[in-house]
């Protein structure tokens, strides 16, 4: 019997080496541990043995030996099987994804939306208006009378003596004021505007402007001073150019609809104020015009200019987009070449 068991073990050791897959493994398992397997047969013969206890112990040793081997082998086989299955899904991670194409927005509109959002987050409401506008709302209501010398600053496209393409979005300001007499206001007015400029790298007969207007009661807790204006515009430039380092600088200027009027320069983002070729060594870049709303504008719209005051600012969207994205020619925006659109 002892010899028999040794043979079984030797036999197993030889056969187990031939196991290549799960089927082989099953056959061997049946051959040795199955109902008619060698171990089972040996157990059956145990009853005929004299020293059952010792033989039984020997059989168990061999059985354990075989089971352990087979179990380990099974684990390997299973692992291999799993690997094979996983490998079937192997990908080349560097091949492009199967994309769902998303549309791109012309950078000018992206910039417009960004600016709108910044001001909306500060509580401004968006107001829209007409691009073909009456002379009254575009000029007269904004303290630019028929003979105002400043009218030649913005030579305009007239359709007839009463109608023209708006030269700024302040026409919305004029309309909103006159329909909301003596109410406090906080609006921005985005839109296209037109001036009789020949198109070149920095000029365009059509461009986008965002005007802001705040009107408050003089005796309210809130003020609308040059200081407040400077503050809100500082917040704006920091937000749009993404840097808390930026400062703004005001310079007295002249617009008929504001008094005092200021030009607003922002720290040059290329050199942070040290002076470079981008900012012509000044450290500053001119970005917008602003000022305290001229009381005459309020009174023309029907406000009580003694009780109300406010400020206004006008942002050139192209100017911001060009500066922010280092675009050298404004005409690229209106050309809409795929290669241009796809970049942003």
């Amino acid at each position: 019997m002892k010899e028999n068991l040794l043979n079984i073990k030797n036999d197993f050791d030889i056969k187990v080496k031939d196991i290549k897959n799960e089927a082989d493994w099953n056959l061997i398992k049946v051959e040795f541990l199955g109902k008619k397997g060698y171990i089972t047969l040996a157990l059956k013969e145990l009853k005929n043995c004299e020293n059952k206890q010792e033989v039984g112990k020997n059989i168990k040793e061999v059985k354990d030996y075989i089971e352990e081997h087979l179990n380990n082998l099974k684990k390997d086989i299973d692992q291999e099987k799993k690997d094979k299955k996983l490998k079937a899904s192997k990908v080349d991670i560097n091949i492009n994804g199967r994309k769902q194409v998303l549309g791109k927005q012309n950078i000018l509109i992206q910039t417009q939306r960004e600016i709108e959002e910044i001001f909306q987050n500060m509580g401004f409401e968006v107001a829209l208006g007409y691009e073909v506008e009456t002379d009254f709302h575009n000029f007269e209501a904004l303290n630019l009378g028929v003979d105002h010398p400043a009218r030649d600053m913005q030579d305009s496209f007239y359709i007839n003596p009463q109608l023209l393409l708006r030269t700024h979005t302040s026409n919305i300001q004029s309309r909103v004021l006159s329909t909301n007499k003596n109410k406090e206001l906080k609006i921005i007015c985005p839109g296209k505007v037109y001036r009789r400029d020949d198109d070149d790298a920095t000029h365009s007969h059509q461009f986008m402007q965002i005007e802001g207007l705040v009107v408050v009661k003089k005796d309210s807790d809130y003020t609308a001073s040059l200081k407040d204006l400077k503050t809100i515009l500082t917040l704006f430039v920091r937000e749009i150019f993404g840097s808390d380092e930026l400062k703004i600088r005001l310079r007295p200027s002249y617009f008929p609809f504001t008094e005092p009027s200021v030009e607003v320069d922002v720290t040059c983002s290329q050199c942070l104020g040290d002076g470079c070729s981008f900012c012509k060594q000044t450290g500053w870049i001119e970005v917008l015009g602003a000022g305290i709303t001229n009381p005459k504008v309020l009174s023309i719209a029907g406000y009580d200019e003694k009780e109300f005051t406010g400020y206004a600012f006008g942002i050139g969207v192209e100017r911001i987009a060009l500066l922010k994205h280092n675009i050298s020619d404004i005409r690229l925006i209106y050309q809409n070449a795929n290669q241009f659109i796809d970049q942003f």
Partner: protein, 800 residues
């Protein structure tokens, strides 16, 4: 306007260039450019000998004494001659792009360059042809070896200062200087700089003649006019001093008489005009033209002046377009012997209109349009007459003829001190406020809580309280306003804007971007050809009165011509696919002007989202899908109806877009005539967002319908129909079928194994019920119904 730093220094402003331009900046006068006229390594030389170059006709070989040595220099100027004193650029001098070094010119050594004024950086159009083409001949008393930068006053820095439209008073040395010293005097504790003084208290020469010219003045157009006759003057080339003064100001020197008028204008801001008196017949008359008349001005251009133009006439002709320019005929020439000096003040509006007629702004017009300081006119007249008599010892002057109707009311403005803080956000003390205004030439009366300020007469821009506050902050320094650290600027106000258009547009924008369309922005102004496309009638187009070019003449009625252009242009750069949209205003001029915000979509070329290999071109159903997806997000429904009348669209592949029984747009394939050079088809759609927004707002929000988790049953169905049969007709077989949740079109086939006039269509039908689980038996009944209807229509059901 250009200002010479040296001239400002002469007047008493002794600041380094940085402080000077910072001060101007603070006052609101931005220095846009600083041009440094200094050139190193120049010397005054004398031409000792000139011989012709043996191998070049136009070149001369010169020996030039430059003080410490004699140089051989090859020169190409035709006015070179022995004995001339000239400006020599020595080795190492930088003349424009050229660095001077010894060279051989056609085999002859040249050790320097004899310079023209053009080479020293004065622009061609400001120089006489002699000064431009030839080397500069020095007539002044200077020594060989001197530095011409010093002795010829060439060394200077020229500031190009941007003056805002309200500060007409600063368009002169007098004006800018006075503004500058208000700042310097306010800040400084040293002795104060004095105001600019026009040094002409009286005529230097005795009046010895009668004035035989009469004056007639339309006083509503001209509130001051002075005229003086000067006999026996000599018209010559101007002195170097005057010439270089004007050159630095960017003004061309004309002659010794005209230059006086120009120089005085630059100094004082008061324009004047000097006529050849012998060309004037009897009188000067300021009037508005009663009929249109021809006029030839100093610029030698002939124009027709319309009725109502402000002119100056003598007995028979127009002698000047008032405030703009004199006539060609009465100009000063080298033969002029006697002159008539005119200093006047004209109606700014009339001058503004006259400027439009000639299409440019003369230096005089620039001043008149912004109003001049009429209080100084008399002085300026004296100044000019004195300057002429200084240079013409033998001349005689007449008595002064003058019409004075000017008003000298001073504007007074009240200002409450506390308002200053309200407007600026910072506190400025009373003393500072008063000191600033006083330095600015205001007369100030302190009244306790407020002050009364009388504006100087030349400050036409002073009207209201805020004007004064701007003056105060200009001098106080606007940089002293800090931002609010607490950002308490987040004030809130009532919501007043009811307009939701921007949000609606943004929603549409977002949907289309998600759908893979690019959003473009194109010009609203288009050309005539474009204006005729996709528009009802070009006569309904808004047309500009005076467009800059024909390319941008009409405000568009449709966005499609612009989008088609973008696609065509991209195509020409080998970008052969394009899926884009634009949202923009359009206008139509019927009885009333009608604004509409439109959405246009364009699709052309190869589908981009097909992956590795498989390719397909966009077609009608792709662009229709964009519309379906958009409407799905808006929870709206549209239907298409045949459209065969749009000439730009293929009648077999286009439709009206109908929403709520309202036609709001079109969709279809563009007829190839509009993109001849392209091989790709173009599909477009355009619809009115104003209409769509109205419809959307009239709808109530969508209500929840219960959903079923019971299993559904699918059946595929293939039918063969006539090729011409329309889809709308075919799907009517599904009307009144129970449990049919939806049907999907899986395939349309019209190839082999099917007769030529037929097509085969496969649908997948989905049956479901919310209450009970469906059985095949129930569905069989419904499918049988479909079969029966199909039979009646003559459709053949496959595999039945």
């Amino acid at each position: 306007m250009l200002f010479s730093v040296n001239r400002l220094k002469e007047l008493g402003i002794d600041l380094d260039i940085k402080t000077l331009s910072d001060s101007l900046f603070q006052l609101g006068h931005e220095v846009e450019e600083i041009e440094d006229k200094y050139i190193d390594k120049l010397v005054i030389g004398e031409v000792l000998k000139v011989i012709k170059h043996p191998d070049a006709d136009k070149l001369s070989i010169c020996d030039v004494n430059v003080g410490d040595k004699t140089l051989q220099i090859v020169c190409g100027a035709s006015n070179i001659k022995e004995g001339l004193k000239v400006i020599v650029a020595l080795e190492g001098a930088q003349i424009g792009e050229l660095k001077i070094a010894p060279v051989k010119l056609k085999g002859v050594e040249s050790n320097g360059m004899i310079c023209s004024l053009a080479e020293l950086g004065y622009s061609k159009d400001k120089l006489s042809s002699k000064d431009y083409e030839g080397i500069h001949e020095i007539n002044e008393d200077v020594n060989v070896g001197d530095n011409p930068m010093e002795v010829l006053k060439l060394d200077d820095k020229i500031l190009d200062v941007f003056l805002t439209a309200n500060r007409g008073d600063c368009q002169s040395y007098k004006g800018l200087y006075n503004d500058l010293i208000s700042l310097i005097n306010y800040n400084g504790n040293n002795k104060k700089l004095k105001k600019y003084k026009i040094d002409a208290d009286d005529f230097k020469k005795k009046i010895t003649l009668e004035n035989n010219y009469k004056l007639e003045v339309d006083q509503s157009e001209c509130d001051f006019f002075s005229m003086q006759y000067i006999k026996d003057v000599e018209v010559k080339e101007s002195s170097w001093e005057d010439k270089i003064y004007l050159l630095k100001q960017g003004v061309k020197s004309q002659n010794s008489i005209t230059d006086i008028s120009n120089k005085v204008l630059i100094e004082t801001g008061i324009p004047s005009h000097i006529y050849d008196a012998d060309k004037i017949n009897g009188l000067l008359k300021v009037c508005l033209l009663e009929t249109e008349e021809e006029f030839k001005g100093l610029d030698e251009k002939e124009i027709t002046l319309p009725k109502g133009t402000l002119v100056i006439k003598d007995k028979e002709k127009i002698v000047a377009l008032a405030g703009v320019m004199g006539s060609y005929e009465t100009r000063i020439t080298s033969n002029t012997k006697n002159v008539l000096v005119e200093v006047a003040s004209f109606n700014p509006k009339s001058v503004f209109n006259s400027s439009k007629l000639i299409g440019k702004k003369t230096d005089a017009a620039l001043r008149y349009e912004k109003s001049i300081d009429t209080n100084t006119i008399s002085l300026v007249n004296k100044l000019i007459v004195n300057k002429i008599s200084d240079k013409n010892n033998n001349c005689e002057i007449s008595e002064l003829e003058e019409v004075d109707n000017k008003k000298n009311d001073k504007v007074s403005i009240e200002l409450e001190y506390k308002t200053v803080k309200k407007v600026l956000g910072i506190e400025i003390c009373k003393d500072s406020i008063i000191s600033i205004l006083t330095n600015l030439d205001f007369e100030v009366e302190d009244k306790g809580d407020f002050l009364v300020a009388y504006a100087p007469f030349y400050r036409k821009d002073m009207e209201i309280e805020n004007d004064l506050i701007e003056e105060i902050i200009r001098v106080y320094n606007i940089d002293n306003i800090d931002i609010d650290g607490n950002m308490s600027t987040f004030l809130t106000t009532d919501k007043v804007i009811k307009d939701t258009k921007n949000d609606f547009v943004k929603k549409i924008e977002k949907n289309l971007l998600k759908q893979g369309l690019n959003q473009l922005i194109t010009y609203s102004l288009i050309n005539e050809k474009q204006a005729k496309e996709f528009s009802k009638d070009i006569d309904l187009s808004v047309e500009l009165m005076s467009p800059l070019s024909n390319e941008h003449r009409y405000y568009r009625q449709s966005l499609l011509p612009s989008l088609i252009d973008v696609v065509k242009n991209n195509y020409s750069y080998q970008e052969k696919y394009n899926t884009s949209f634009e949202i923009a205003q359009t206008y139509e001029q019927t009885k009333e002007l009608k604004e509409d915000t439109k959405l246009a979509i364009i699709m052309s070329g190869e589908c981009e989202n097909y992956y590795l290999g498989q390719k397909r071109k966009y077609d009608f159903y792709d662009i229709k899908a964009k519309l379906e997806n958009l409407f799905s997000e808006l929870n709206l429904y549209f239907k298409l109806e045949k459209e065969e009348n749009i000439k730009e669209l293929n009648p077999y592949a286009s439709a009206k877009i109908i929403v709520d029984n309202k036609e709001i747009g079109v969709i279809g394939e563009v007829v190839f005539d509009y993109y001849k050079k392209m091989t790709e088809k173009i599909y477009v759609l355009e619809l009115s967002l104003n209409e769509l927004k109205d419809i959307k707002e009239s709808k109530k929000s969508t209500k929840y319908e219960s959903i079923s988790f019971l299993p559904s049953i699918n059946r595929d169905l293939t039918i063969e129909v006539n090729k011409e049969e329309e889809f709308k007709e075919i799907i009517s077989i599904f009307n009144d079928i129970n449990y049919l949740e939806n049907y999907t079109l899986i395939d349309i086939y019209d190839g082999e194994h099917i007769s030529e006039d037929k097509k085969s269509i496969t649908f997948r039908l989905k049956f479901s019920d919310k209450k009970e689980t469906l059985t095949n038996e129930i569905i069989d009944i419904e499918v049988e119904k479909i079969f029966n209807i199909s039979d009646k229509k003559g459709y053949v059901i496959n595999g039945r």
